[in-house]
């Protein structure tokens, strides 16, 4: 039906004065849990979870705070994984520079894809990003450095800053945790900056933002590149965690997965995507041993989320009576 519709979300996590202590306590508990997690859980699993959580949070920066649905984020995630893996394995770069290359590569890809895609809005934007990422998929399938169907195998983790041996699982875990927290702090800063406010105003009403004198196109492109770069950060560390980079990460199914994580957790909430990623990754791990295809469950969860709780788990909690009493009041 034609006409102006509601924006994709208008959830915002504003820090209300009375929410201070509750939030800080919850944050400290979460941090403590993350610090001791590798002693109780399989470290690779937690690291995978952190990579996808950062991926989803970076994606949400675009969908939740700018209102742009990208269906092509797998290009940045998988692309960065390839760049990092190639730099570390073939050129012998140290892990930190390998990851930086992944971030830079993803940002560059984001600049190209974003510049083309923001020429159209809404639904077209989603379809164009999907098509462009599919083009990147075919590029990766045929390019030499990606090793085609095999992918880049046995990538060395190397030594961080030249003296921390990352082949040790504990060292690797705290490195990944550090990168994850850094990424989250960056996202939190962006969202709560004047720049982030302008992004939200574009999400709420693009024409009004234009009429106020903001160059909407430039802000959208900047947000797109930032989101791509942070996605690249997640993809880069993932290739070091698993020590390989393959085509799986550049498929459109991967783009769909990150959308699901964000939707399930709560579009436009800072921690929603982390929960969403946690649930989806756990579910995949659980189903990996059975022959029941994950796609059926993924598809059903998608439909249920869209039909019944579009705010996502965290968003619904914020809006619930308990959530409001604790001061997590979504401001709509």
């Amino acid at each position: 039906m034609a006409g102006k519709s509601e924006p994709i979300t208008n959830q915002t996590t504003t820090i209300l004065p009375n929410a201070g202590p509750v939030r800080i306590v919850l944050l400290l508990i979460a941090l403590a849990l993350l610090l001791v997690a590798p002693f109780y859980l399989y470290p690779i699993f937690v690291m995978k979870l952190l990579c996808f959580a950062l991926f989803a949070a970076a994606f949400n920066l675009l969908l939740g705070y700018t209102g742009l649905l990208s269906f092509g984020h797998s290009a940045f995630f998988g692309g960065a994984a390839y760049f990092t893996a190639h730099a570390v394995k073939e050129w012998g770069w140290s892990p930190e520079f390998g990851i930086l290359l992944g971030v830079a590569g993803a940002a560059g890809l984001g600049l190209i894809m974003g510049a083309i895609a923001i020429r159209r809005q809404g639904i077209y934007f989603a379809m164009i990003t999907l098509a462009l990422s599919q083009m990147f998929f075919f590029f990766c399938l045929q390019a030499g450095f990606t090793k085609g169907e095999d992918g880049i195998q046995s990538v060395p983790r190397g030594e961080l800053f030249g003296f921390i041996d990352l082949s040790d699982a504990t060292n690797m875990y705290y490195f990944v945790l550090g990168v994850f927290l850094l990424g989250m702090v960056i996202i939190w800063r962006i969202v709560n900056s004047p720049f982030g406010m302008i992004l939200k105003s574009i999400r709420e009403n693009e024409s009004r933002a234009t009429s106020l004198g903001y160059s909407v196109t430039r802000y959208k492109l900047t947000a797109f590149v930032m989101s791509a770069a942070l996605t690249g950060l997640a993809g880069g560390i993932k290739s070091l965690v698993f020590q390989f980079a393959t085509l799986t990460d550049v498929t459109w199914q991967m783009s769909g997965e990150v959308i699901l994580m964000t939707l399930l957790g709560g579009i436009g909430t800072l921690i929603g995507p982390i929960f969403g990623a946690g649930i989806v990754v756990t579910l995949q791990n659980y189903l990996a041993t059975s022959d029941f295809p994950v796609t059926i469950i993924t598809g059903v969860v998608f439909m249920v989320c869209v039909l019944l709780f579009r705010r996502g788990l965290v968003g619904e909690f914020y809006a619930s009576r308990l959530g409001r009493r604790l001061g997590f009041n979504p401001d709509n």
Partner: protein, 295 residues
């Protein structure tokens, strides 16, 4: 051997035919997408799955009921169209008042569910579907060999595209559809049952996809993944053509199929991505698409 630009004519016309056949499917599918989008403002991500369902309906009708190709060509679109109408009525219609992206996400979930289910039951491998006897064999046109079935696919898709275009542009029902696209509230206040019209439109789009699926069954085999492979290309076709025009969607579909076929002759490495490259160029030069109005 006669050659054009160093390419044997037989190979050239052969690839042109392949391109034309792919173009027939692109045209049918992008037509359905454009019809649905025009009225519902929903990008039907499940379109590929409905195309696959059409092919599977033909396969299962023959397996379970012994029905042949010709009855499947009628029955499969009807069945898939009805299933689409049920989905629209019970679920999709709840999303119209929200951001259009939710419609895309819902149909994406629907596509994953349908494809996952069929993959679970029938595996990823393709099931063969026989070419109908009346259309078996081929004719030698002098410059190339034309399998009759492939010629039929091109002709059948053109007829259906033309029929749908006539339905929308020249009939009373079509005038309601076009009016409801412009202003649904006003049309409703004239006593037209717009929600029913929306259900019909979604069913029609799904039926078109299923029709394409039955046509494709003897050529590509019946596989659960046949839809997800084609749908992204069709999205690009729709972006290139611009969603504003029904005729634009049809013409763009055929043209891009042919462009893809020609690329296979002259630069095979790029044949997978030529549609996407064209999309990027069109977006840079003419963001609204070749036939589109500015949105």
């Amino acid at each position: 051997m006669i050659t054009i630009f160093g390419v044997p004519t037989a190979a050239l016309f052969g690839q042109l035919l392949v391109g034309l056949i792919n173009g027939s499917f692109y045209a049918l599918l992008s037509l359905g997408l454009a019809v649905i989008f025009g009225l519902l403002r929903v990008i039907n991500f499940a379109h590929g799955a409905q195309y696959m369902l059409g092919a599977f309906a033909a396969y299962l009708l023959s397996l379970w009921l012994g029905l042949g190709y010709w009855s499947a060509l009628i029955l499969a679109p009807v069945l898939v169209g009805l299933a689409g109408a049920v989905v629209e009525r019970t679920m999709l219609s709840r999303l119209y008042k929200l951001d259009h992206l939710y419609g895309l996400l819902f149909t994406f979930g629907l596509a994953l569910t349908i494809e996952g289910t069929f993959r679970y039951i029938y595996g990823a491998a393709g099931q063969p579907y026989p070419t109908p006897e009346a259309l078996a064999g081929g004719v030698n046109l002098g410059f190339m060999f034309l399998p009759i079935y492939r010629g039929w696919v091109v002709v059948a898709s053109m007829i259906v595209c033309l029929a749908v275009w006539l339905l929308i542009e020249k009939t009373k029902l079509g005038s309601y559809l076009r009016a409801a696209t412009e202003n649904p509230i006003l049309v409703q206040s004239f006593g037209v049952n717009v929600p029913l019209l929306l259900t019909f439109t979604y069913g029609l789009g799904a039926a078109l996809a299923a029709f394409a699926g039955v046509l494709a069954a003897p050529i590509y085999q019946v596989s659960p993944l046949m839809g997800s492979n084609i749908i992204i290309i069709v999205f690009a076709v729709v972006v290139i053509g611009g969603m504003g025009s029904i005729l634009g969607a049809i013409v763009t579909g055929y043209l891009l199929g042919i462009a893809e076929g020609l690329t296979k002759v002259f630069y095979p490495e790029a044949s997978n991505i030529v549609v996407f490259v064209i999309m990027a160029i069109v977006l840079i030069l003419r963001p609204a698409g070749l036939f589109g109005k500015d949105v």
